[in-house]
Structures are given as C-alpha cells and as structure tokens.
C-alpha cells in the first residue's frame, strides 16, 4: 500500500451522535489513486456516516481526514472541484428534465465534461428531455451518478448506488461504474451487496458496528476463510453434531452452524465430501440436503460475525 500514491486517507475516524450513539468507532483507511474501494457492511454499520465525514458534510467527533492532499477547511472549494459525490437517496428536482439537471450541476464545475458525453456514459441519452419524476429508480440513480461525474472528478464517492434496484438495473449501473473506472478514477463506494463489492472493487473493508473487521481484496478475504468452496448441509440431528468434529475432516478449514444448517469452508471438495459422507454414515445421521458453491464475501461476513449481511 505504501508504494501507491494516496488519493485519500483517514485515521481513527469516529462519530458519536448526541454524545451517546457511537455510529463510527475509529476507522483507518487509505485509498490509492485509481483504486476502486468498497465499504461493505449491513445497514446501520456506519458506512454512510463514514462516507459523509470523508465528503466533508459531517463533522467527525475525532480523527483526521486528508482528501486529495488537503484537510477539510483548508480550501474546500478547490477540493470540491475535484470530487464527484452521489449521496444515498437524494431526490433531485422532480420537474426538471434530465438534461436541465445535468446542465445545472455542470455549471458549478471548472473542468467539465459535455452534457452529451455524460448522457452517453450513463445511458440516459433517450431520456434527456424527461422530467426526473418520470424516471425509473435505475434511471434516477444513473442521473445521480451523471451529476457526480459531470465535473470530471478525480475522486468519486458513491453511497449505496444500487440499493433498491432490480437486478437488471443494478447490472446496468455496474457497467456505468466500470466504464468510468477505465479512466483511472478513484472510487469509494458503500454497499450491502457482497456481489457488488466482489464485482466492482479492488479492495473492500468489511464494516460492522462502526469498525472495520476485515480489509483486503475480495480474493484475499475469501482465501482467508481457508477454502474457496462452501459446503452446506442439512441433517436430521444437526444440533447434536459437534462442529469441531467436522473441522477434523480432510480439507475442511472451518465450520459453522446456522440454525439447522451446517456450513464448511473447504479447500478441495472431492476430498471433503466422501469423508463427510462416511462420518455421517457412522453417526447414523440422515442427510436431507447438501450443496456446494464458491465462497463469497457473504461467507466471510458470516464467518466473522455469525450473521448475514442482509440481517442488519
């Protein structure tokens, strides 16, 4: 990391609301130029509070922030000229058209891109004369991103860019983000969709209860589980099976229990499954369901917290 030129960093960043609610409890981050970095965590983990402090919209209770080589309060105008921001759930003016909205935001910036270029990049060319109120959820999100990109920023903050969208709109938005990443822009995004983080981000920080509980590339984090595969099984006497026993099976790196479901992080499926079958046969357990899949960041989160991301 130290070799990389830093686009922004923060140290011991914390926010306590009304002197009691600790939303963020000491976060350290460094994001390199050209990197796409994801803050991944369940709702209420402190992602939005963190990103709004980094954006200079919320004063931290403690900690230091440096954005593009500047502290907030030094020369905010100049920093904002180089930032692109899309907030969570901003409702842009209903009765302005897509083109009018982009033109308005464009007027604030010095190094702007043409409206036509931005419409093409975000796939909104056909909707340029539609009122915002007539757009679908996905189109509104793309408009929000268009407003973030129209000033040709070096660093882009996207807070939950795809929350609430249907799978097709979500994929469309990923394409938009991937397209402008080709221009070596630095991106910080928050999400509670692990699939999104895996597809888009070079590195992710998993955030829970206002702290970072894991940091690294999606690949690294999954490998830290000890296996690329997850075997999930339901058996008649699941609550009585000691999960330590399962970890002794060949190629099984970790095991966890989630209600009636048992999960194993496995390195080599073809070694683990026969051994698992033999073990269950010995116990006389009846196998009701078995599935294997590639491990995901979701499994990383579950193995670290015992909860699913969506559970909050």
């Amino acid at each position: 990391m130290t070799l990389m030129q830093s686009a922004m960093w923060c140290r011991d960043l914390a926010k306590t609301y009304d002197g009691k609610v600790e939303a963020v409890r000491g976060i350290d981050l460094e994001i390199g130029v050209g990197e796409c970095f994801g803050l991944l965590g369940p709702n209420g983990a402190g992602k939005t509070t963190t990103i709004e402090m980094l954006e200079g919209l919320l004063a931290p209770t403690r900690g230091e922030i440096e954005i593009l080589g500047k502290r907030w309060g030094e020369d905010d105008d100049a920093v904002r000229q180089r930032l692109g921001i899309s907030l969570q759930e901003t409702k842009l003016a209903d009765k302005l058209t897509v083109e009018e909205t982009i033109t308005l935001f464009r007027s604030f910036y010095d190094r702007r891109r043409s409206v036509q270029e931005i419409l093409e990049l975000t796939g909104l060319t056909e909707k340029r004369s539609s009122w915002v109120v007539k757009l679908s959820g996905g189109q509104r999100q793309r408009l929000a991103i268009a407003c973030a990109l129209v000033g040709n920023p070096e660093l882009v903050f996207l807070d939950e860019p795809t929350t609430g969208l249907d799978p097709q709109s979500r994929r469309h938005l990923w394409d938009v983000i991937r397209d402008f990443r080709r221009e070596r822009k630095t991106v910080l995004l928050t999400t509670h969709y692990m699939e999104e983080a895996e597809r888009l981000c070079d590195r992710v920080a998993i955030v829970d209860h206002g702290k970072i509980i894991a940091l690294g590339s999606p690949r690294e984090l999954i490998q830290r589980l000890g296996g690329d595969h997850v075997v999930e099984l339901e058996v008649s006497d699941a609550p009585r099976i000691p999960i330590e026993d399962l970890e002794k099976l060949p190629s099984v790196r970790r095991s966890y229990r989630e209600g009636d479901l048992l999960g194993l992080a496995v390195k080599e499926v073809h070694l683990a499954i026969p051994a698992l079958m033999a073990y269950l046969g010995e116990r006389g357990s009846e196998l009701e369901h078995l599935s294997t899949r590639h491990a995901s960041l979701e499994d990383v989160f579950v193995s670290l917290t015992g909860r699913h991301l969506r559970d909050g």
């Binding site: 904002r80 009765k95 910036y109």
Partner: protein
C-alpha cells in the same frame, strides 16, 4: 459569486414552479379571480331602496300615500303582528305606527335602520308642513380611485408578495432539505451565495409578473390607473418581494419537516392576513393595537403600495414604510444566514 451557476439556479427556480399547475393557479389566477369576485360584490350600486311597513289603522292609507310619493321608499301596509315579524326578519328597515304621537320602530344596530328613520321623519314632517331652513342640491360622486376595487388591488398585490415569499422561498427550501437536495448542492462546488441570490432573484422575477398581471387586469377591467409613478410602484414591489423572501428564508432556516415549516408560515402569515389591511383598512382596529399593526411588514407594504398606486404619492413620502421593510428584510436575512442548515 459566479454568473453561470447563479443563472442556472435561477432558471431552475423559475421553471420548477411554472411546471406545477397548482402553483400557477394560486399565484397568477387566484388573485385575479378574487379581484373579480370582490369587485362584483362591492361594486358601486345605485341608491338603495328603503322598505318600510305601516301598521294598519285609520290614518294608514293617508301616510302610505305620502311615503309612496318618495321614489326611494317601498311601502307596505301590514297589521301589527305582521309588521313586527317583517321588522324582525329584516324585510323592512322600519315600521311606522301612525297615531299621536307617531311611533318609529327600528333596530338601531342595523345601519340601514337609522338612515330609514332619518329619511322617513324628513318626508313625513315636510308633508305635515315643516319648512326647510335652506335649499340644498344632491350631487352624486363615484370616481375611479375612491371605489372599493381601487382599495383592493394594491392589497391583493401585497398579499401575493407575502405568500409568494413564504411559499416560493420558505416552502421550497424545506422541500429541498427533506429531499436532501440542499445537501447534494453543498457537496458540489456551488457557492452558498449563488444559491441564496438565485432564490431571492426568482422572487423578484415572479413579483414583476404578478405586479404587471394585476395592474393590467385592473386597468382593463376596472379602469384602475396607477396615479403615482410606475417605477415607484415597481420599486416598492421589489422591496416587498425581497423582504418577504428574507422572512421566507428565516422561517425555513432550520425546519426539517414540511409540517414544521407549514406551521411556521401560517403563524407568520395569519396575523398579517387579518390585521394588515388587505381587504379592509387596518385603521378599523382599536387605537391600542395600532402600534403593533403598523409595525407588521405587510401593513407597511400595503400602505406604501396604496399611497403610490391610488393616492399618487411619491416614493420619498413613503420613507417610513420603506425603512421599516428594509429593517424587517435585513434582520431576517442576517439571522437566517446565521441559523441556516444545509443538511
């Protein structure tokens, strides 16, 4: 402040309301409908007829003949019971009981009753032989400038500037805050001064349209002419628009919910709707309340607009009102800049 962001923000602030049909109705159509309605209701009527009942008796016919000779009187003869109920229901203004001494029965709290009493007394006394001490001629006067509609139009203009400032600035700002649009704007390199200037300037543009619409309508429909200088009227309108724009920003400076700002706006506007002389003169309220009423910004605005539009006074003669408005607008503006929350 940069010119292009200011211009783009201003265009957006003008376009948005014009695309809301209900805003166009309340801002441009409603005041004109109100002027038409009230102009018809309070148009100058020909001299009113007075209805009078005579209680039947030996001299009733003789008295009726005398009163019927007067074109302003409508006379009927009723028995005592009927006359009483006609008086109670307001069908007649007065009942005459023709015996010695003559009796006039009327309810003095009704304005028409006292007029009827004086008029009928005069007619009957004259018929009985009373001589006038001198001759007098009646000349009827109804000039443009002295009618109710002349009084009303500047009041409607003032009312429009007040509600325009509150809705067009106060409501709009809180709406943008609840949508997080204000936060999104400050996250961009937009300068706050550009935003505030565009907000106030949009009020000035709407003020000009409203002022011209009402004055042109008044001229063509009711022959109302601006007696003072049009420039002075526009300048006072401008000051009014900015003052209420400033009060609008103040009201909106912290409110987080539409309900909160609606309540605050009503709290500010209601006293002025009642006391500031929109539909009738503020002088009708008791002496004791006058210092407070005269200190309200809408009272000052209405007084200054009327002085220039109906009385043809100069801008200079209204310096007290102008200073008052500047003070209201300036103090509101300074406080709102201090308290304003973008998030």
């Amino acid at each position: 402040m940069r010119l292009e962001p200011f211009y783009r923000l201003l265009i957006a602030r003008i376009r948005e309301p014009l695309r809301e049909p209900e805003v166009v109705f309340w801002v441009f159509v409603f005041p004109i409908l109100l002027a038409v309605g009230l102009g018809i209701a309070f148009r100058n009527k020909p001299q009113e007829q007075i209805s009078v009942a005579i209680v039947d008796g030996p001299r009733a016919r003789e008295v009726a003949a005398v009163l019927e000779a007067d074109p302003q009187l409508v006379v009927r003869i009723s028995n005592g019971e009927d006359a009483r109920s006609e008086l109670r229901l307001g069908k007649v203004a007065l009942v005459v009981v023709p015996r010695e001494p003559y009796e006039y029965r009327f309810d003095p709290t009704r304005p028409e009753a006292e007029l009827a009493q004086a008029h009928i007394e005069g007619v009957l006394q004259k018929a009985a032989g009373r001589k006038d001490a001198f001759d007098a001629v009646e000349v009827e006067v109804s000039e443009p400038g002295a009618r109710y509609i002349d009084f009303l139009i500047p009041g409607l203009l003032g009312m429009n500037l007040m509600s325009g400032g509150m809705w067009g600035v106060g409501f709009a700002v809180v709406d943008m805050r609840t949508r997080k649009l204000l936060k999104r704007l400050v996250a961009s390199p937009m300068r706050k001064s550009e935003f505030i200037a565009a907000l106030l300037m949009s009020r000035v543009v709407f003020m000009l349209v409203e002022l011209v619409a009402l004055l042109v309508f008044g001229y063509f429909v009711f022959d109302i002419v601006v007696r003072g200088s049009v420039t002075a009227a526009v300048l006072v309108g401008l000051l009014g628009a900015l003052t209420f724009g400033g009060i609008g920003i103040l009201v909106a400076s912290r409110a987080q919910k539409i309900e909160t700002v609606s309540g605050l706006m009503n709290l500010v506007m209601l006293p002025m709707f009642v006391f500031s002389g929109i539909f009738f003169s503020a002088d009708r309220f008791p002496e004791m309340m006058q210092p407070a009423i005269q200190a309200l910004p809408l009272t000052m605005l209405n007084d200054a607009l009327r002085a220039i539009i109906i009385e043809g006074q100069t801008l200079f003669s209204q310096s007290r009102e102008i200073l008052g408005l500047l003070l209201w607008g300036g103090v509101s503006f300074v406080l709102s800049i201090k308290w304003f929350r973008w998030t």
